[in-house]
Symmetry: C2
Subunit: 335 residues, 2 copies
Amino acid sequence: MTDRGAPAGLLAVDSGGSGLRAALAAVDRGVLAQRASTVPVRTGPRGIDPGHLMEQLVPMVRALTAETGVRELGAAVVGAAGLSTLGDALRAELPDALTREFGVAKVALAADAVTAYVGALGPSPGAVIAAGTGLIAIGTDLTRWRRADGWGHLLGDCGGGAWIGRAGLEAALRAHDGRPGGSARLRDRAEAEFGPLPTLPGRLYPRADRAAVLASFAPGVADCAHLGDPVALDILGAAARQMAESAAAVCPVSGEPRIALTGGLFRMGDPLLLPLEIELAQKLPHAQQVPAEGDPLHGSVRMAADLATDALTLPSDGTMLYLAPKKGISPTGDE
Amino acid sequence: MTDRGAPAGLLAVDSGGSGLRAALAAVDRGVLAQRASTVPVRTGPRGIDPGHLMEQLVPMVRALTAETGVRELGAAVVGAAGLSTLGDALRAELPDALTREFGVAKVALAADAVTAYVGALGPSPGAVIAAGTGLIAIGTDLTRWRRADGWGHLLGDCGGGAWIGRAGLEAALRAHDGRPGGSARLRDRAEAEFGPLPTLPGRLYPRADRAAVLASFAPGVADCAHLGDPVALDILGAAARQMAESAAAVCPVSGEPRIALTGGLFRMGDPLLLPLEIELAQKLPHAQQVPAEGDPLHGSVRMAADLATDALTLPSDGTMLYLAPKKGISPTGDE
């Protein structure tokens, strides 16, 4: 296959708290290769830093084009955590930068919740609960996006990993203090993981990744629930209820919406999934629970394929999904 | 009054999150003068930094001795936030430093909860709830100290200012999202104070004083409760219940203990005090609720007076209350 005859490639990017992932795909052949960096894109005074994103992305894309032989990029979709509130600089600069570096004609920027949605359900109506350290619910009737929660570990993310872990540690400390609501099993587990409980504040508060430290105790809560600990079971029951509340706030109220779960938190399995299934059936009886098709990067790939073929029908609102004005420039000047 | 005839002075210090206060007192005349700094003592890798404390304290004490004419210090009591878990360097170095600089013979270091207790109830059995941004309950039967909560805004401080403000902001965001448990009145109040709610995470998370930012919304919750908002009333009711639970965990179970409240949070008044009075009466029917006599600095002064006259009968355990071994050294060599 010559350079000129190579398929128009697609660039899909997923930028989040744990780093940057990039995939090179082809409309008719799916993902050809991918690369990952574990350095999260910096957030500065102007919000998410487009320069730092490009700094990481350029060598990845050079390596991907070399590996795959794909020379032309027809479309690029970048899913980024924090796009809606911290994405001004990204919206202003990233599309031009992608066009300049890689000759991409069509660029879309999406909130990571949108790529999570499309990765899980594709372009169909419904609601997706995305849960890891944090938690957000996103839904669409295909005319607009709705989101609920996703406010971070101090203001919400109710039912997410940091929320569950924090509740478990509070219960451990209640047992330590002799206050009601404590669990001796959670206390013992917390001591096994973090050392003597009086030293826990000194270990937690100085860290920059406090939410991740809290979330690291969520599996401990799941294990205690599995052993029948009533406090741990209550915590996971409350997490499931709050997740379902968030899903209900964004799911279309009519039609035949589908609901899917995505994100690492659901690897916790039955102690969380069983109560969640019941809560969702109660709060959204008209919605069908389905397994997620794929992850957020898969969502970016799907959106890039639709963008390249002018088939992207998802609602774009400038913040959750931003379609950059088309450019006709190519670095090789042959278009 | 000559220098030699001056009364043996007492040095009382209160070191906390909002700075350092020092008072010079006399056993028979009470507080003579005081000074304050708004620079909190640094916490470094070795815990609370004794050098930084002395750096601030020395000029204060020089000014106080000049102002009062008190030349000899018979006893010093330093109440410090974080002493139990972050006080190793303070215990190792501060007593010698105080002796060297000021010729103090008797030195005690106390957790700020202990000075808050003594300031509120004096050396008598009972329980004190100290609440500002954080919350801790401390109690004693005069044979040992017991403490409950005080674990900070991520792990507990249940019912404190940051806890109440955080719950209010979560309710505001629930209303914004259309999730259950929201309050439109709290939403409007939060928007009036912080601007559009989607910008709140960007304003809160980058700050170092996140707990204080959360606590700054506690008066907003109180105002909404005063207007009859049911969600705000529930938040303050839950705060009162948790405070009473912490008090019950530390209060002597027999005898005639007294209970007092201390700290800025209680300026909130009736919306918090009325439910708290009821909760305390239910959970601790044998305890008498009394007004706090004074603040933590007052507690340090009382303890210094008792220490100077060998009348300090409070339980010392090395962490909550540490009595330094006596020194016979005087900088003037005339003892």
